[in-house]
């Protein structure tokens, strides 16, 4: 497939200008930083708490901002122009994800520095973070295509926030409610499990499950996103 860097870069620059001038959305990126700051000052130093801030960055920055960016294009009726332009579907989707990806990485680095989290194996953790960002951004794209307005997107993101960021905490109640075992399969829980196994001596076999599951989530959400995009394309056009 022939991707035009020039087009994707144009979309990135345009998104940056729109985003930085929209304070209502762009100020959200401060929330995970503030939370990270609180936790670091409270002096709690467990993996669970570190990942509270990290998972919150993912859902509030990656998913929410991506969702707003896409929903705004729809609300303002500009997505149609993009779809009718010579840009292809991958160019549009990648171009629209680039800004969120960059911001996510920046905020993630910021909150990790603030909480003082030091992973057992930095390289493996970075790869896991990158994969997770892709997953959360894709979910954001999917929700953005479903939401009709920016207003709606902040509501629609809430379930994702609770499920993926708060969800891992529910694993404390697994013994009482066996239904909650499902939480084990969430990408955010897998990320925490990965981090915990990295702290001790780990075998390569331990890495297979988290990476495999996160990748599986990415593939499922990507397929859904392309289906919804194509459907929107037929409806709107």
């Amino acid at each position: 497939m022939n991707l035009s860097m020039k087009r994707m870069q144009a979309i990135l620059v345009k998104d940056y200008k729109e985003f930085s001038r929209n304070l209502a959305v762009s100020s959200t990126i401060l929330v995970p930083l503030v939370i990270a700051l609180f936790y670091s000052r409270m002096g709690i130093d467990t993996i669970q708490v570190h990942f509270m801030a990290i998972n919150m960055t993912f859902s509030l920055v990656a998913t929410y901002i991506q969702c707003c960016l896409i929903a705004e294009e729809k609300e303002k009726n500009t997505l149609r122009n993009l779809m009718l332009s010579p840009a292809t579907i991958p160019e549009i989707l990648i171009g629209k994800s680039m800004l969120t990806f960059i911001i996510t990485i920046l905020i993630l680095t910021g909150s990790i520095l603030l909480t003082g989290y030091n992973p057992g194996n930095t390289l493996i953790m970075i790869i896991a973070f990158l994969l997770s960002s892709i997953f959360y951004i894709t979910i954001g794209t999917l929700l953005g295509l479903i939401a009709k307005t920016v207003m709606e997107s902040s509501v629609i993101v809430m379930p994702v926030f609770f499920l993926f960021s708060i969800g891992p905490f529910a694993s404390a109640f697994v013994e009482k409610y066996p239904v909650l075992k499902v939480i084990e399969w969430l990408p955010s829980t897998q990320l925490i499990n990965l981090a915990e196994s990295l702290e001790n001596n780990f075998k390569v076999g331990d890495l297979v499950q988290p990476f495999g599951l996160i990748s599986l989530w990415i593939i499922i959400v990507m397929i859904l996103t392309v289906i919804v995009y194509n459907k929107r394309m037929k409806d709107d056009i």
Binding site: S4, K6, R7, Q9, A10, I11, V13, K14, K17, E18, R21, N22, E73, K76, N77, T78, L79, R80, N81, L82, L84, S85, P86, A87, I237
Partner: protein, 317 residues
């Protein structure tokens, strides 16, 4: 710039309840020319929905989205990169008269200025065919002039332009080849400059078989068979063709005299009807009747009691 090759054929478009909205026709496009199509709003919507799948067309929608927080210059730069265009942004701004406003944010622009921004985008898109929806609607005079100038600029560059509008006057600002939709397909309006007709009449004093109607400074001529009926309300005579009223300066009796040979009938003190189009005669009560015309709109024309006998004689019942 690539030229378009194949003629574009539109299939019959029907509404969800099976009523025909647009008959099948071929888009009347010629390169380097502006053509107009006189359609109603709903027909325009359906046509555009169909046309936007063509990649060699650029469609100028009446309602189009903008990135409101960007300046004019920034959003044009974005379009330029997206379409990989070679047009200089300043040139496009110059043609559309936006050069001084280029640092303004889109959300602060007036409707007319927005329309100019869309026009500048259209210049940047560089597609061989431009389909433009309602180019002159709700614009200030300055912007109307700019639109006209830009369209001519595009025409001279050899682009194909098709204007869609519900207002015939708007179409006639830019072009003399205007089409309308009949049940069977496209029909061209017979437009002539008013002066040239006056001259002809003076010279030869021939009786025109066409019925002149007047819109602004243009005369629109109709062949009598095209006319559905003619109505006179408070001294104003309107000629109805496919449901649209065109004002006419002749009186009803003059029209009756001219049209009687074409199968027209004075069915009421203030109505003349084209008998070829009459489908039904409805009796409401002993004293009130009306004629229903063929065609999708099923237009109603009143028929007076005194004329009923006469009508029966003509039809032969």
């Amino acid at each position: 710039m690539e030229k378009f090759q194949q003629p574009i054929k539109i299939p019959t478009i029907t509404t969800f309840d099976g009523r025909m909205l647009l008959p099948s026709f071929q888009l009347p496009l010629t390169s380097g020319e502006i053509v107009g199509m006189h359609l109603d709003v709903f027909q325009i919507d359906c046509l555009l929905k169909y046309l936007q799948h063509y990649s060699n067309m650029n469609i100028f929608f009446r309602q189009e989205g903008h990135y409101e927080r960007m300046t004019i210059f920034e959003s044009l730069k974005f379009e330029k990169k997206l379409y990989n265009s070679n047009i200089e942004i300043d040139d496009a701004l110059n043609i559309t008269g936006l050069l001084k406003a280029k640092k303004l944010k889109i959300k602060n622009l007036s409707y007319s200025q927005l329309q100019r921004v869309k026009l500048a985008k259209l210049l940047i898109h560089e597609k061989p065919i431009h389909i433009i929806e309602e180019p002159y609607q709700n614009l200030d005079i300055e912007t109307k002039r700019i639109v006209e100038r830009t369209l001519n600029f595009l025409k001279e560059k050899g682009y194909t332009i098709c204007l869609l509008s519900a207002s015939l006057e708007d179409l006639m600002i830019s072009t003399n080849s205007v089409f309308r939709i009949e049940d069977t397909g496209l029909e061209k309006f017979d437009l002539q400059e008013e002066n040239s007709i006056d001259m002809k009449v003076d010279k030869q004093a021939i009786k025109l078989e066409k019925i002149p109607t007047k819109i602004k400074d243009k005369l629109v001529l109709f062949n009598p068979p095209e006319i559905d009926y003619i109505e006179s309300v408070e001294g104003e005579v309107n000629v109805f063709v496919t449901g649209v009223a065109y004002p006419c300066s002749l009186t009803l009796s003059e029209l009756e005299r001219r049209l009687i040979h074409f199968g027209f009938f004075r069915c009421h003190r203030s109505y003349i009807v084209n008998l070829q189009k009459v489908r039904e005669v409805i009796t409401w009560s002993k004293n009130s009747y009306s004629l229903v015309l063929s065609g999708k709109e099923r237009l109603n024309v009143p028929l007076s009691r005194s004329k009923l006998v006469e009508l029966k004689e003509i039809i032969g019942i």
